[in-house]
């Protein structure tokens, strides 16, 4: 049963105030409901993308390890390590925020992931190493993408929970409470009218007796 909201006095002014509050609450409920549905839509889309990115990353890793083991077998570990040390470089990631229905989620973008010159000697190395490097760069891109997706998923999930609580409070507490209080006030007014009528009747009878 909805709980009634405490009103100072059951007057028409209070009734008008309550009706205004009910209209506001109903409109806000619609907006919050739409927001939740949009957040859920985004959440599901990101969840789907996360699954795709994860399976892609696993595939990329397995291809990279295969290529790396072939390159290691071809060059030998020591020679390969020497070339890889020379190929070390810093990675540039453009990080920022984007906003989805009031939720700030991170946006990462790997800069210059694919490079033509990778730092190792192209004369002494085979195409296996080139393939390994190319696949590793692909893995890096997917890792950055996955990081963004997973963080977004967490943020959106948290916001959906929070917004749903607000929506539930509106749907099951505030709006029913306001409606019940308005109904209660109407009942009070009707009762007052009936009392007034019976009082008038009583007065009329008393006057007639005199």
């Amino acid at each position: 049963m909805p709980q009634l909201i405490k009103v100072a006095r059951p007057t028409k002014i209070e009734l008008i105030k309550l009706r205004r509050r009910l209209a506001l609450a109903t409109r806000i409920q619609k907006i919050v409901k739409d927001r939740v549905s949009i957040l859920i839509l985004e959440f599901l889309q990101i969840a789907r993308q996360t699954v795709e990115a994860k399976s892609k990353l696993l595939d990329d890793f397995s291809h990279t390890y295969k290529a790396l083991s072939i390159a290691a077998g071809y060059h030998g570990y020591i020679a390969l390590e020497k070339e890889l040390i020379a190929a070390e470089r810093d990675l540039g990631i453009a990080a920022g925020l984007r906003n989805v229905g009031g939720v700030r989620i991170p946006a990462f973008e790997l800069r210059e992931a694919q490079r033509v010159v990778r730092g190792y000697n192209l004369v002494d190395t085979s195409s296996w190493l080139d393939q390994t490097a190319q696949l590793s760069e692909k893995c890096l891109e997917t890792i950055v993408e996955l990081a963004e997706l997973q963080r977004s998923l967490e943020q959106l999930g948290r916001e959906i929970n929070r917004t749903k609580r607000i929506l539930n409070a509106l749907e099951y507490l505030i709006i029913p409470g306001l409606q019940a209080t308005i109904k209660y006030l109407y009942m009070k007014f009707e009762e007052r009218d009936r009392e007034e009528k019976s009082r008038l009747k009583r007065v009329k009878v008393l006057l007639e007796r005199k």
Partner: protein, 143 residues
């Protein structure tokens, strides 16, 4: 029968702030695609002081959809108006370029009415999948 709800006022306040939150991310000024393509880190400033970063891949994709001279007319981020309680959305299109872009993204003809293109949830999912950073939601404050 009348009971006191101590957190009723609190909820009212949180609802007011909720409305502020949903539209806080809107850009203070939209930028044209041509301008954004020239920036190293393409972004716009939002009303809440934060920055909204655009993905370069999306900008390149948009550039591939329209002619070079139309790039100046396409203002980003495109705004998607969410109509409360009606289950339909509208892409705000002040010019013809937006209509062309949406038509190509959805792979169907669209007709802007009163500078708006009405779309539904399945179409919204397609648009948001392809244009994640170049579109933003707008909750009209018709309260």
């Amino acid at each position: 029968m009348v009971s006191e709800l101590p957190y009723e006022r609190l909820l009212q306040e949180s609802l007011k702030s909720e409305l502020k939150v949903v539209n806080a991310h809107l850009p203070s000024r939209q930028k044209s695609l041509a301008d954004l393509l020239g920036e190293e880190y393409p972004h716009v400033l939002c009303n809440d002081g934060s920055t909204h970063l655009f993905r370069r891949k999306e900008l390149d994709y948009l550039a591939s959809l329209i002619e070079t001279e139309e790039q100046k007319a396409l203002l980003l981020p495109m705004l998607i108006e969410v109509n409360a309680g009606r289950g339909e959305m509208a892409v705000i299109c002040p010019g013809e370029v937006e209509g062309k872009v949406i038509s190509k993204v959805l792979d169907m003809p669209v007709t802007p009415r009163q500078k708006k293109i009405v779309i539904y949830k399945p179409q919204l999912a397609v648009i948001r999948k392809l244009l994640k950073t170049t579109t933003q939601y707008l909750f009209p404050p018709k309260l």
